[in-house]
Subunit: 194 residues, 2 copies
DNA sequence: TCTTGATGATACCGACCGGTCACTTACTAT
DNA sequence: ATAGTAAGTGACCGGTCGGTATCATCAAGA
């Protein structure tokens, strides 16, 4: 067992990844810290040595999620040069995500539904993240020369959030297909100059 | 106080409406039954005399929500005659809903985010409701002569769900405007025969 | 007037939750 | 060998949760 324990990630890391997975799949309120520790094969004391509270653990995970999405957005847009192509690349990347079998929706959007108080840190974090995405989409739409860049950007934002939500009743493949085709159609109409 | 108590709704009714409001605004898991009873000015015993459990109360409210949405859908579409006009009427009615100041999103969609287990009654109820809406939209799209009715219907379904989600970071008025304009554009493109 | 059904008041239960405690184990760097 | 540090163990705390039991109140109808 010595070799197994040697390669084993640190307790804090195990707790972090277990919590991320459980919070995402089951929901944050539905997941107790004892379950997190059991799945992480760690103890509560290890959790509380790394994070001062469950809320702090939640915040750390959601901040990481938001940062990962920012990086992923930058990466997806970096592959293209023209602004319109950047928008298409973002949509394509989201559609690919939707098709992954075990994907169950945007973690940040789900989290916001669990913490609906506008003053709650989680709510604010998600709102800030979504606003950032919204601004980026509108910026690309403006660079692409859309007649009404805010309208195009907000429409894409709506379709993206709608795609996350449609996952449970539409299924990943169909959600991906609809997102791809509807955004293509929308960009044909709203992407042109006035 | 006698006149006040005389006109007062029955305890079961007060509990029902208080729970509906709190579950919608704060979330189901975030609302305890004691808070429901306090707001309803009733006692726990009155609650449990009318409903066998909190889950049953939740189910009753969500079923009522779903039924109300069905009736509201029928009413919105009844005003128009042509299928394309029916679709426009549904979108218009949703946009109006979005603009109401105290509206905070589709109760069923929010509830599903709280109960993510596919086997949970709440999850299933919402999935069934969303599928029904999806079918109705596709049906109207087919009657309207769309080249790909499923694509049009699913696109509209996505935009609608996206509109609910965009409420926190976009605001009701802007969400309504975007929904109106984007659906008009989409129906121009996808609403025509092949 | 007497009954009856609905409601209120309140104390209580067991279970679970987030979080803390004192103490032990095991690895590792010097 | 030793000391420092990360991690584990299991009991425990106060609070809250969903849910129940008992008894009192009170209005309306026979």
């Amino acid at each position: 067992m010595s070799s197994a324990t040697a390669d084993r990630p640190k307790a804090a890391q195990r707790i972090h990844s277990a919590a991320k997975d459980l919070f995402h799949r089951q929901g944050i309120r539905a997941t107790g810290i004892e379950e997190v520790c059991r799945v992480a094969e760690a103890t509560k004391m290890s959790l509380y040595r790394s994070y001062p509270s469950k809320d702090a653990l939640v915040a750390a995970i959601l901040e990481e999620d938001a940062a990962a999405y920012d990086a992923w957005f930058a990466e997806a847009t970096a592959l293209a040069t023209a602004p319109a192509e950047k928008l298409r690349a973002v949509i394509a990347a989201i559609a690919d995500k939707l098709e992954k079998p075990d994907f169950c929706g945007c973690p940040l959007l789900l989290a916001q539904a669990e913490f609906r108080d506008p003053g709650h840190p989680t709510f604010r974090l998600v709102a800030a993240y979504k606003s950032r995405i919204r601004d980026q989409l509108a910026g690309l739409a403006r660079e692409a020369g859309a007649a009404d860049p805010v309208l195009l950007g907000d429409t894409l934002a709506m379709l993206i959030d709608g795609a996350w939500c449609s996952l449970p009743y539409m299924g990943g493949p169909q959600a991906a297909t609809v997102l791809r085709q509807s955004t293509a159609a929308i960009m044909d109409v709203l992407g042109k100059p006035a």
